[in-house]
Symmetry: C2
Subunit: 301 residues, 2 copies
């Protein structure tokens, strides 16, 4: 089943204890698309400026990602982010950020994408996220991500969005900020009251937590031997999760979401093993399935 | 199989967002003994001062804990700790601490305890831990805990101890301090090189990690609805873990340790549900087994 994703596309400069990479491809929609394309065809909607080097955009060559919704906007500049994990691998320090084209109008969803049944709204202004949703004909599963900035500056808009989606993915700090609750289960319960049927709280190296009205499920991160660059881990996690969900059809049970979270966890473990998309590019669906099984067996006691 | 534990016994004053309790029973050996006594007979070795109110020491009434190794030392004062979790439930702030009798000579292990096969050396000076070990006739499984203070001040003594034990239990910060490695799996591997066959790293609300030369296993904490007082969670975790191990006989496989970690996790989830020993006192082996099964099922995907 086709999976529509919209989010940021950027040119990243990243420093970690393992080195530095200048001007590599990044952004939430890129990581999400690559990760989910291991499972299902992906439709990408995003925008870059005319400065974006063509080779960077060839990242999806040979993969089932429809990039016809990727706009290269004349006269605009691509989103850029320069981050450093040198001090703390669990917390990126933003050295420099230029929103550029991301601060302009949203890209248009191509006509032939409007029948998408699975939709992931990667982190962006909640008004834009709602705008995207309103165009779609009959979405079956809508999951959104958000961030501190929108929680703090556009809370009302975000709350409206929460009433329109099935699932929210956010990190622990964002969940606490959104609800004012320190205890994560309490925070998740409060998010559920705002609309979503389920919430997935990402805890970085500590894994993730799924909450529905009746269930709480915690899963550790895959014990990664070598973390080279954590950039995109959260978006890859969401991509693996939703890519799997898009293949499941029928009703989405908590058991299905649990398996999906484990796929997200495994896909993210490949992302962090190298810079930019290097880790994902070096893996295959077979390897992902094998590690998933290994993870499942390890979690059995 | 009898399980010998030696560690601190104290009078605690604890503040959390849920209130304050003055002069309640605490200390590593107390929490460990109570927790492990759900599984196996326990032999407690510890020392308090003559100021210790008798009712506090009646805590093991009706439980299979042999307190004949509990010395009430004339002319000495009991160890006291006053801690606050008001600012951060994951990090106790020590308001006041008086080592008192803990700064004096170690208590003696009773003659009839010397044949103990399972031994837990709760956190104390590594020289005292070694002294205890040397008296024992034929210990089968020795697990020790330690803390920042000994890693920083008595590193050589601690390293000698590590060559004499089978397992080390410590928290993430301590593992990093001991090895100088930030990445927890690398830190655990370095600990293994110092002697123990396995190391269990406690990560508080984020669960625990087991490392052997061949295996890495991560387990989240039980998703607790209500955390009232985290005091003793780590010691209860170790108690549940080792209490279960002491009932297993035969060779201790990684699979057995995994099940044991899950029991430790479940027992700790009761500890933090109330102040002092309130949470443990209110539960039963049946309830522990039931929650263990629930945890096991929740971790299956």
């Amino acid at each position: 089943m086709s999976l529509l994703v919209t989010g940021s596309i950027g040119i990243d400069t990243v420093e970690t204890p393992f080195g530095k990479r200048d001007d590599v491809i990044g952004g939430s929609a890129i990581y999400f698309s690559y990760a989910s394309s291991f499972f299902t065809p992906v439709r990408l909607v995003g925008v870059v400026g005319e400065d974006c080097p063509k080779p960077l955009l060839n990242v999806f060559e040979g993969r089932d990602v429809d990039t016809s919704g990727l706009e290269i906007r004349k006269g605009s500049k691509t989103f850029r982010w320069h981050g450093s994990y040198v001090k703390d691998m669990n917390d990126a320090e933003t050295v420099e950020v230029d929103l550029n084209v991301l601060a302009e109008r949203a890209p248009k969803i191509p006509e032939n994408f409007l029948d998408s049944r699975y939709v992931f709204l990667a982190n962006t202004h909640p008004s834009l996220q709602r705008e995207m949703l309103c165009c779609l004909k009959s979405p079956r599963l809508i999951i959104a991500d958000t961030m501190n900035l929108w929680i703090q500056t556009t809370r009302d808009e975000l709350c409206k969005l929460l009433g329109m989606i099935h699932g929210l993915v956010l990190n622990d700090g964002e969940a606490r900020l959104l609800t004012g609750k320190k205890h994560l289960i309490e925070a998740a319960r409060d998010v559920l009251k705002m609309g979503p049927k389920f919430v997935v709280i990402k805890k970085g190296e500590h894994g993730c937590m799924l909450c529905t009205v009746n269930d709480t499920f915690v899963l550790p991160a895959f014990p990664a031997e070598r973390v080279v660059d954590p950039t995109g881990a959260g978006d890859s996690f969401a991509g693996g999760m939703m890519g799997y969900l898009a293949t499941q059809g029928g009703s989405i049970s908590p058991a299905t979401i649990k398996r999906a979270l484990a796929f997200g966890t495994v896909v993210a473990s490949y992302t962090i093993s190298d810079f930019s998309l290097g880790g994902l590019k070096a893996t295959s669906r077979d390897q992902i399935d094998e590690r998933w099984l290994q993870f499942k067996q390890a979690m059995t006691f």
